[in-house]
């Protein structure tokens, strides 16, 4: 891979080194983990929009689609709390190894693993659900490992007194995710069809999308904040949780969090997801015929068409990929935030994504792509955001600082490009005069 977009890597390194120099807390394991997670989320939408930018188009609807997919996810999940009357519904409570198993009678909503069961004596996480005819048997694990399991079981077994339990119930988060992703893919398909077959301008189509999806998100949620509450703990812990830990030398000493020279930092699953998406995108763009065709289409649509390339299908594909990744990011953002306000969530995110893509080496004229550069672009913006906080610059400076840094990055690239273009011309002149 050619590093035509060297500027962004230099900028990223500069931001990291300078901020760490002024404030060691930047190297704190928690901060690094948070930065990786944030970069992953913004990186996903940036790679999505990179596909569209490569075709010479633009997608302005990403931020709104993030809000809409979050709202759809929550609406779809249909999180409800049920009060369960002990005497009428709990038929049996037994100890199974270290856990408690509660059998519930019929007419209960779909209780999921990871849900909570709240009783006067404490909270329990539902570890698994087994259906037994019309009844359900819940295996519970106590919220805190230290609390005496036997005592909790005993409190559940207190017969004779009317005790109310609260059970949260909802549809499977995996099902909801699948629906959201499918919906977003359809939205992208619609964008692509309007642009490729309908010959409408990408800017206009996705600008209308920006307005419409934001509006739909507010209508669907009645313009109120939506969130998980205490539901789907298992799903959230898994998605937001660490995949593995990696050692980073000196980070502990710089941040003052430990004296060991190796600090273990948790690498979140979202980072793994971004890596996987990047790998697939890389294979598509640089190792497959389709990627070559996509770049050709972006550079000169007419020439691609005259060479027998299915330009319309590729355009539709690019918009579908972009919207689907926006939907995926929407779910992950929701997991990160736990609640979201449909009128503001994801605002401006399309611009962050576009900025990252352009900084990373995608030309808005189309035909030029990059993947690592785009991720670096997303990382620069998250690091800058954090730096503003850590260096004690006021929050109100956020946009100014990010704007100036982006401008510097673009300027650097442009200067490098012009110098190399001049060298190329000179080389050509020399070759011809020989």
């Amino acid at each position: 891979m050619r590093f035509k977009n060297l500027g962004i890597f230099v900028l990223l390194l500069a931001v990291i080194v300078l901020t760490t120099f002024w404030n060691g807390l930047f190297a704190d394991p928690g901060n690094i983990r948070a930065l990786i997670r944030d970069t992953s989320l913004y990186g996903l939408i940036s790679i999505g929009v990179a596909f569209v930018i490569i075709t010479g188009g633009i997608d302005l609807s990403i931020g709104s689609l993030i809000a809409l997919s979050g709202v759809i996810f929550i609406t779809m999940a249909n999180i409800q709390k049920y009060e369960v009357d002990y005497q009428s519904t709990v038929t049996d409570v037994v100890m199974v190894q270290d856990d408690i198993a509660v059998s519930l009678a019929e007419r209960l909503p779909a209780v999921q693993a990871g849900d909570q069961l709240r009783t006067p004596s404490g909270q329990f996480v539902v570890a698994s659900v087994v259906s037994e005819g019309r009844n359900k048997r819940l295996r519970l694990s106590p919220q805190s490992a230290s609390s005496p399991v036997v005592g909790e079981a005993a409190s559940l077994l207190r017969g004779g007194q009317p005790v109310r339990y609260v059970v949260t119930a909802h549809r499977s988060p995996w099902l909801c995710s699948a629906v959201v992703l499918g919906f977003c893919a359809l939205i992208g398909l619609l964008h692509g069809v309007l642009i490729a077959w309908g010959r409408l301008q990408p800017f206009v189509v996705t600008l209308c999308g920006l307005l419409i999806y934001r509006g739909l998100a507010r209508i669907l949620s009645s313009d109120t904040s939506k969130g998980f509450g205490d539901a789907m703990v298992g799903f959230r812990q898994f998605v937001g949780g660490p995949a593995f830990s990696f050692p980073l030398p000196f980070a502990g000493q710089i941040s003052g969090s430990s004296d060991a020279w190796l600090t273990w930092i948790e690498f979140p699953w979202t980072g793994v997801l971004l890596a996987a998406v990047t790998l697939v995108a890389w294979v598509f763009l640089y190792q497959s015929v389709y990627g070559r065709h996509l770049l050709a289409l972006g550079q000169n649509e007419q020439a691609a068409l005259f060479s027998g390339i299915a330009t319309q299908r590729l355009t539709i594909l690019a918009y579908s990929v972009c919207s689907t990744l926006a939907g995926l990011a929407g779910i992950l953002f929701l997991v990160d935030w736990t609640t979201m306000a449909p009128s503001t969530a994801g605002s401006f995110y399309e611009l962050y994504a576009i900025a990252a893509a352009v900084l990373g080496g995608c030309s808005l004229r189309g035909g030029q792509g990059a993947l690592l550069g785009v991720i670096a672009g997303a990382a620069v913006m998250r690091c800058l955001y954090k730096s503003i906080d850590l260096l004690g610059i006021g929050k109100e400076w956020e946009f100014v600082v990010i704007g100036v840094a982006l401008f510097a990055g673009v300027l650097f690239d442009e200067v490098v490009r012009r110098i190399s273009a001049r060298r190329q011309l000179a080389a050509k002149a020399r070759a011809q005069s020989e």
Binding site: Y286, Q287, S288, V289, Y290, G291, R292, H293, L295, A296, Q299, N300, Q302, A303, A304, L305, F306, S307, G308, I309, A310, G367, Q424, L425, A426, A427, K428, A429, A431, Q432
Partner: protein, 494 residues
């Protein structure tokens, strides 16, 4: 005006080398030369768009230095560009006086402007309302507006760069009348054209450029087609075209009553046999490019069918048609033929990649091998396979555009203006390549506006006029005269 030993160097090219010429008052001086001979650069220097590296300009014997087009206009020199420099959304009068509007206290004097604009428009034979919007005029009308604009700025020297390249025959006549009347009023004209017929009719003197140098001048009585060509080409024409008689084989391209959208009343039927080289001649706008694009499947026909080796093509399905063995080297390689910013290799394999042995994976080894073969076979002069096509010369770009299709071994190769913007040496190589392909049994159908090319290369020529085939000439019957008559539609009217 006098140009004295002007030189100009661009990165990589010596565009002009000590070129001199002199224009007398009330004279039409034609400047001719092949593409890349330096005509346009010379005109730009004369009109102040670019400064010369060496040499000087004199106006009425006084040396002048134009820093900008504005300086040149103030000095009485106006350039009428190939692509017109007009604001299409403004009115005719506003265009004539753009930047020099008559005004009082900063306010526009619209009536005054319209009155004076009418005067100048009449001088160029345009009887139109100066308030009308420019985009309602035809291209020819817009060109006349540009001339009126030059006159309104008191131009004494008008430089016209390929003024008839997009005009119809009637519009060309009208332009000639205007040029003649300007000459009578003492305005000097520098007339740049490829069309030697026009030059013969119009010019008082001819100045020939070749490879950025003066290559001879012709006085009025010496202006004659062959004399001009031999000075432009610098060698004998008969050796230039490597034509050998072919033995046509089976029909490879069979166009059956194809009805183009641009000419709905005239179905077109034609056949090209294996080993045959067939030219499509005609004036600009006769529908030649449309015909090739309709056969190729980029444009949808209203009716009719196209068969390649007996298999029918599908309209609008370029991809499948290419797989059936048809290929089209387009007229405008920058906008429809090549990815100019991409490498030679990416361009060469673009149309074949999806059918390559490793597809849908891209095999770098395969790409390198086939590109290397093509570079050698076509004699593409490039530093390496990764060189961006934009840095190559026009001739080498065209070789890449052709190579892209040769990789597919097409049975039918269509070429639209195969040597436009190509230097002489590369032209010859392209002709040799076409000959070799025909000898291998490829059916070749090419469109060309260059008479010599048609006469030199074709076994047979189809002449188009206003969307239909006006006639067909076998090689023995081909002559410039016969071609021109068919192209002008005279035979049809009789």
């Amino acid at each position: 005006m006098e140009v004295v030993a002007v030189s100009k160097r661009f990165p990589g090219v010596q565009a002009l080398r000590e070129v001199s010429l002199r224009v007398m008052p009330g004279e039409v001086l034609a400047v001719i030369g092949e593409n890349g001979a330096g005509k346009s650069t010379l005109m730009k220097i004369m009109a102040g768009i670019q400064p010369p590296d060496e040499g000087s300009l004199r106006l009425d014997g006084q040396p002048v230095r134009f820093q900008s087009p504005g300086d040149a206009i103030a000095g009485g020199v106006a350039l009428i560009h190939q692509e017109l420099n007009l604001a299409e959304n403004l009115s005719v009068a506003e265009n004539v006086f753009l930047g020099r509007e008559p005004r009082r206290c900063g306010l526009l004097r619209r009536q005054e402007m319209h009155r004076r604009a009418s005067e100048f428009l009449q001088q160029v034979g345009l009887d139109i309302d100066p308030a009308m919007s420019l985009d309602r005029l035809s291209l020819a009308g817009q060109q006349l507006v540009e001339i009126a604009k030059a006159l309104s700025a008191n131009a004494r020297l008008v430089i016209m760069d390929e003024p008839t390249s997009s005009l119809s025959a009637r519009e060309t006549e009208r332009l000639f009348e205007v040029v003649s009347s300007l000459r009578e009023r003492g305005v000097s004209i520098v007339y740049i054209s490829h069309r030697l017929v026009e030059v013969e009719r119009l010019a008082d003197r001819v100045e020939v450029l070749r490879d950025g140098q003066n290559a001879g001048a012709l006085a009025r009585e010496e202006i004659e087609h062959d004399a001009m060509v031999s000075r432009m080409v610098g060698r004998d024409l008969s050796q230039f075209f490597p034509h050998t008689p072919h033995k046509p084989g089976d029909v490879r391209l069979d166009v059956r009553d194809l009805v183009m959208q641009t000419a709905p009343r005239h179905p077109i039927a034609l056949q090209v046999r294996a080993g045959e080289v067939v030219a499509v001649a005609g004036l600009v706008g006769a529908g030649r490019t449309e015909l090739l694009e309709t056969i190729f499947g980029i444009r949808k026909p209203l009716a009719g069918s196209v068969l390649v080796d007996g298999q029918p093509l599908t309209d609008g399905a370029v991809r499948q048609n290419i797989r059936r063995g048809i290929a089209l080297v387009t007229e405008d390689r920058k906008s429809t033929g090549l990815l100019v910013e991409s490498s030679v290799r990416e361009n060469m394999t673009l149309a074949t990649l999806a059918d390559a042995p490793a597809a849908p994976r891209v095999s770098a080894a395969w790409e390198q091998q086939v590109t290397g073969d093509l570079i050698q076979r076509l004699g593409v002069r490039t530093a390496n396979q990764n060189t961006a096509v934009v840095t190559l010369s026009g001739g080498n770009q065209q070789k890449v555009a052709i190579g892209k299709w040769l990789l597919r071994n097409p049975g039918v190769l269509m070429l639209d203006e195969p040597t436009r913007g190509v230097d002489i040496g590369a032209k010859h190589e392209i002709y040799e390549r076409i000959e070799a392909l025909a000898a291998e049994g490829v059916a070749v159908l090419f469109v060309s506006s260059e008479m010599e090319e048609v006469l030199g290369m074709a076994d047979r020529v189809l002449v188009m006029h206003e969307g239909r085939i006006a006639g067909e000439l076998a090689r023995q019957a081909m002559s410039e005269q016969a071609l021109m008559e068919l192209a002008l539609g005279s035979a049809l009217k009789e």
